[in-house]
Symmetry: C2
Subunit: 532 residues, 2 copies
C-alpha cells in the first residue's frame, strides 16, 4: 500500500526491477531517480527499465508514474518530481528494498499514479542547540525525510544552551559558546539537579556546506535558524558586549526562558550580517533564513537608556515595535542576499514585518490565520499537534517529555488549512512543520523515538493536505519501512523496555492547558514571558 | 601523504579526476573501485579515466596503481585489491573528497604504487553487549574501517549485560536478555551507584544479513561472537535451564566477571548449534565464528554432580580440559558449517583445541606465541596496546576509562610478529585487532573518541607490518580525513571540553600492572578469575 499519492490506480501485471537496471531520459531527472533508490544500484543509460520524460506543465514537484509489464515510465515536472516518482516507486517495492541488498530483484505491481504535493513546505525542525547531534545524524535525518517526501529541514542552531556552528569572524562562538559543563536533569519544579556531564559540539562551515549539498541532492532545503534577539545566553557568553548591559553570561545549563537578549543597536546588526554571510556562504543558495524572534524578554532593553534613546530616535512608542523593527532590519539584510526571513509568531504580534517574511505560528493557528490575513506566508507549527517533544501517551512508561499528549493520530488528523477558512487565509498557508525541541531528547536514539512514526503522519498531511482516520490502516506499512531503515521508532503499544529511560510524569504539563495559555498570550503584543 | 603503502614513487605530472568519470575493466573490479570512492559518482564504462586489469598472481588483496597525466591505471590481484587501490587513490585526493561533494573535480598527483597487506586479519572488535549500538552505527563503522583497509569486524554479541541478536528459535533471548533496567555508574571500588536508565536493543536477523552484505561489499568480514560458556548471565536470564544449577539469573547491571556459566551438557550444545545456524543463515558465508572461552569461572561446573559425572565419562581429570573439550565440540559443529572457530586465549590454556581454531591472546603475546608454536593461527589482541577502552592519557580531563594509559604512539609502535621470533611462530601471527570493550563507552560519540585516531595507527601496523616513530608525521593527514568524515576523534592535545564527560581517575588501573598480572595468569591453566 502506498502512503497517500493523490491518485492511484492499480493496473494488471507487474514488472521485475533488478539491481543494476538502466534509467534513461534527461540526465538531471535520471540523477534524481538514482538518488531516490540508492540501494538499487541503478545506472543511467540509453533505454532501459525506467524511462523518464520531462513535462514542466505538471509543476516542479509533480509526476506521473506508470508501471506496466514492459517497465516503468515516469513523467516529471522537474527534478523534484522525478525524485518523488522514484520515492513512490520505492514504496511499491517490499520493505527489504530499504536495506542494503545488492543484486536483489523486486517485483513491482502495475500501477498508474498521478501525484503532486498539496503544500510546498513539508518540514521538520530539529533543535541542535539544547542537545547537539553530530553531522552523521543530520545526514541520516535528511535520508529519512527524503523517503517521506519531506523537504524542509529547519536547524535551530543557537539557543541559551549552545551555539552550534563555526564562525571564522567570531571564533569565540564555537570555542566558548558551543558547550556547557553540565545539564539540568530535574523535571520542572522538582529540586534542581544536574548530570555533571559536559555537553557540546558544533558544525564546521565545511560540515554545513556538505549537509546543504547532501540535502539538495535529496530535494531538501536546509533552513538555518539564528534565533535572536532573545535566547542569547550562549552568544553573550562569548561576546557580552552584544548585550544591552555588557554584563557577563554563561552558556545556560538549565531550561526555561532566560532574560538574556541581544542589544538592537547597530553593532548587533553588523555582527549578525557577518554571521549571515558566513552561513549563506557555506550553505550556498539559501531561500529561507530563520531569525527567531520568539520568547523575548524585553526588560533589559527597557532598562537601557541607550536603547531607550534609540527607540525614541526611531519614533517608536514602546519596545514591542522595536523588536519587530529589529527583525525587519535583519530581514532586509537577508533579502539583499537572496533569502526570505522566517520568524516565530511573537515577531508578527510585536509589530510590522517585511511583507515577504514567513511566519511560524507555534502558539496556535489563530495567530497563524491573523498572519495569513495580514498577507504573510505561514507555515503551520502549532504546539498541538506538531511539537514532537511532547509524549505520545500519558503513561509512566513513557520516557520523560516536555509534556503530554500528542498521539500519532492527533498528527494524522491535523489539517493545516481547513476548508472552512476564507480563501485569502488558506492560500497563505504554505505548509506545516513538526518541531523537535531537545531539552528532553539527549541523544540520537531518543530523537528517533520522538520523531517516528509521528513524522510519517506529518508527511501524509503535508503531501496530501490531510491524512485522517484511515492513517492507522497505513501505519503498519510505514513501520515496516522504518524497521528496514533501522529507525528506533515508538511502537504503537508503547516504548520497548529500553526506551523507557526516566519515568514520565503523566499530566504534569498537559498540552491542552498549554495551548489555552498560549492562545491567550497571542492577543497581547507586549506580553513578556516568565524568565528562568 | 599516503599512509604507508608498501612502495610509493612520485611521478611527474598529475591527473584531473572529475565526478562522474568512467571506470573500465572487469565488472567486479569496477564495482569495487566504485564502492571505494562513493562520493565521486564514478560510472562503469568502456574506456575512461580509471582503467582496471586483473592479475591474480599479485594475490587477492594486492594491487598496483599508476597515476599519470592520461589517467589512472590499476592492476589488481582480485576484487579486494581493486577496492584497496580505490582507497589509496582516494587518499591521494584532498580531504574534501571524503565529504559529499557532487560535481567536484580533484587533481591527483602522479604516482606509482605497488602495495599489498602484511597481515590478512586487520581487525576491530566492538562489544555491543555492554552497550548496544544501533545498526546505523555499525554500518558507519564498516565505512570507516574500509577507508582504513581494516577487514575484520568482530561483534561481541552477548555478555552478562545483554544479548544482542534476534533468535526465532529462542525468542526470550531478544525479548528478555536484550535489556537491563539500569547500569552501574560507580568506578571500581567506589560505593555502588546506578544510572536508573534502562538500556538495551538487538539486531534482527535481517539487520545482521544487511550488515554482512554491506561489509562484504567493502571487503570487511563480520566475525560474530557468541561468548560461551562464561559471561552467561543474560542467556541464563532467558533460559535458566541451560545453567548447571537451573537457578534464575538477571541480566547483569554492573561490571566485572560473573560466576554465571552455561552447562557443558548436550542440551547446551544443541541450543548453541541452533543459534549458530540462525546466525550463519543470516550472515551468509561466515569464514570465522568466535565462541569466546574467556574469563570462565568453573565453580558451578565443579559443584554439579551431573557435570562432574559427565567429565568423568569423558575421561577428564579436571574441569579445565572439559572447558577446552566443550569449545572443541562447538568448533566441530562450526566446521561442519564452513566456519573456523575463534577463541580467547584461556581456551587454549585450558586444553586441546581443534587444530584450525584461531586464538586471540588478550593477556599478552607470550601466550600468543605459545599458541602459535602449538600450530594455531593467532590474531594479536593484547590488552597493551590494543584495548582501546583504556584512556589515551593519565589525566583527570580524560573521560572515564577502564584504566590507563595506551597512547596512539603505543599502538603505532606495536609489532605483531617481531623479527626476532622463530619463523614457525611469526608465520602463525595472521594479524592484529583492537578491542573496544564498552563498559565505559555508553554511546556512539564516545565510541568515536576511543577508536580514533588509535585505529589509524592499527591500520598502518596491520597493513604494513609496522608503523613506528614516523607515524606522528602522518597523523595530521589522518586527522584531516577524520574531520571530513565527521569522526569525533580524540585530539592530540586531549579531549574537547564536551568530550570530558565524567572525570578520569588517573592511575587507578595502570595498564602495565594489568599486563603483569595477566601474564602471570596465563601460566596456570586452572586459574579461576575473581567473581563479581
Amino acid at each position: 500500500m502506498i502512503p497517500r499519492p493523490r491518485l492511484l490506480r492499480h493496473l494488471s501485471g507487474s514488472y521485475e526491477l533488478t539491481s543494476g537496471a538502466i534509467v534513461s531520459g534527461p540526465a538531471e531527472l535520471a540523477g534524481a531517480v538514482l538518488a531516490a533508490l540508492p540501494g538499487l544500484d541503478l545506472r543511467p543509460g540509453d533505454a532501459g527499465a525506467i524511462d523518464l520524460r520531462l513535462d514542466p506543465d505538471l509543476g516542479p514537484e509533480a509526476y506521473q508514474l506508470v508501471v506496466g509489464s514492459r517497465g516503468v515510465e515516469i513523467t516529471a515536472g522537474g527534478r523534484a518530481g522525478a525524485f518523488y516518482a522514484g520515492q513512490t516507486l520505492h514504496q511499491l517495492l517490499p520493505d527489504g528494498s530499504y536495506r542494503f541488498s545488492p543484486g536483489a530483484s523486486w517485483s513491482v505491481p502495475g500501477v498508474r499514479v498521478e501525484d503532486g504535493p498539496r503544500y510546498s513546505w513539508r518540514g521538520l525542525h530539529v533543535d541542535v542547540a539544547r542537545h547537539f547531534f553530530p553531522k552523521r545524524e543530520i545526514l541520516r535525518l535528511i535520508d529519512l525525510m527524503a523517503v517521506h517526501k519531506l523537504n524542509r529541514l529547519h536547524l535551530h542552531l543557537v539557543d541559551d544552551q549552545g551555539w552550534r556552528v563555526e564562525s571564522r569572524a567570531y571564533p569565540l562562538l564555537h570555542e566558548v559558546a558551543s558547550h556547557r559543563p553540565r545539564t539540568a536533569s530535574n523535571y520542572y519544579h522538582e529540586p534542581e539537579s544536574y548530570d555533571d556531564l559536559p555537553h557540546g559540539g558544533y558544525y564546521t562551515l565545511d560540515d554545513l556546506a556538505e549537509m546543504a549539498a547532501y540535502a539538495r541532492a535529496r530535494e531538501v532545503v536546509i533552513v538555518p535558524e539564528i534565533d535572536v534577539p532573545g535566547h542569547a545566553s550562549a552568544i553573550l557568553a562569548a561576546y557580552p558586549s552584544l548585550g544591552p548591559t555588557g554584563e557577563p553570561f554563561e552558556v545556560l545549563d538549565r531550561w526555561g526562558i532566560s532574560p538574556a537578549i541581544l542589544s538592537p543597536l547597530p553593532p548587533t546588526v553588523e555582527f549578525l550580517t557577518t554571521i549571515f554571510d558566513e552561513l549563506i556562504g557555506a550553505l550556498g543558495e539559501t531561500p529561507y533564513f530563520h531569525i527567531g524572534g520568539d520568547e523575548v524578554v524585553l526588560d533589559h532593553w527597557a532598562a537601557s537608556p541607550e536603547i531607550d534613546a534609540y527607540r525614541e530616535s526611531l519614533g517608536m512608542s514602546s519596545m514591542g515595535p522595536l523588536h519587530a523593527w529589529f527583525l525587519r532590519r535583519l530581514a532586509d539584510v537577508l533579502a539583499e542576499r537572496g533569502s526570505r526571513a522566517v520568524v516565530w509568531d511573537e515577531a508578527f504580534v510585536s509589530g510590522e514585518l517585511r511583507h515577504d517574511t514567513v511566519v511560524m505560528p507555534w502558539r496556535g493557528m489563530e495567530v497563524g490565520r491573523r498572519a495569513a490575513a495580514a498577507g504573510h506566508d505561514v507555515v503551520a507549527t502549532p504546539v498541538f499537534p506538531l511539537y514532537f517533544d511532547y509524549a505520545e501517551a500519558a503513561s509512566p512508561d513513557e520516557p520523560m517529555a516536555i509534556g503530554d499528549t500528542i498521539t500519532v493520530a492527533d498528527v494524522a488528523a491535523f489539517v493545516p488549512a481547513p476548508d472552512g477558512w476564507p480563501d485569502e487565509e488558506r492560500s497563505r498557508i504554505i505548509g506545516a512543520q513538526a518541531q523537535l525541541w531537545t531539552e528532553r531528547i539527549p541523544d540520537a536514539r531518543t530523537l528517533d523515538y520522538r520523531t517516528w512514526p509521528r513524522a510519517c503522519a506529518l508527511a501524509e498531511v503535508t503531501w496530501s493536505g490531510s491524512s485522517g482516520a484511515d492513517f492507522t490502516e497505513r501505519l503498519e506499512a510505514h513501520l515496516g519501512r522504518l524497521d528496514a531503515l533501522g529507525v528506533e521508532y515508538r511502537p504503537s503499544d508503547g516504548p520497548r523496555p529500553w526506551q523507557r529511560r526516566r519515568p514520565h510524569r503523566p499530566g504534569v504539563i498537559p498540552v491542552a492547558a498549554v495551548m489555552e495559555r498560549l492562545d491567550h498570550s497571542t492577543h497581547d503584543a507586549e506580553s513578556t514571558r516568565p524568565s528562568v
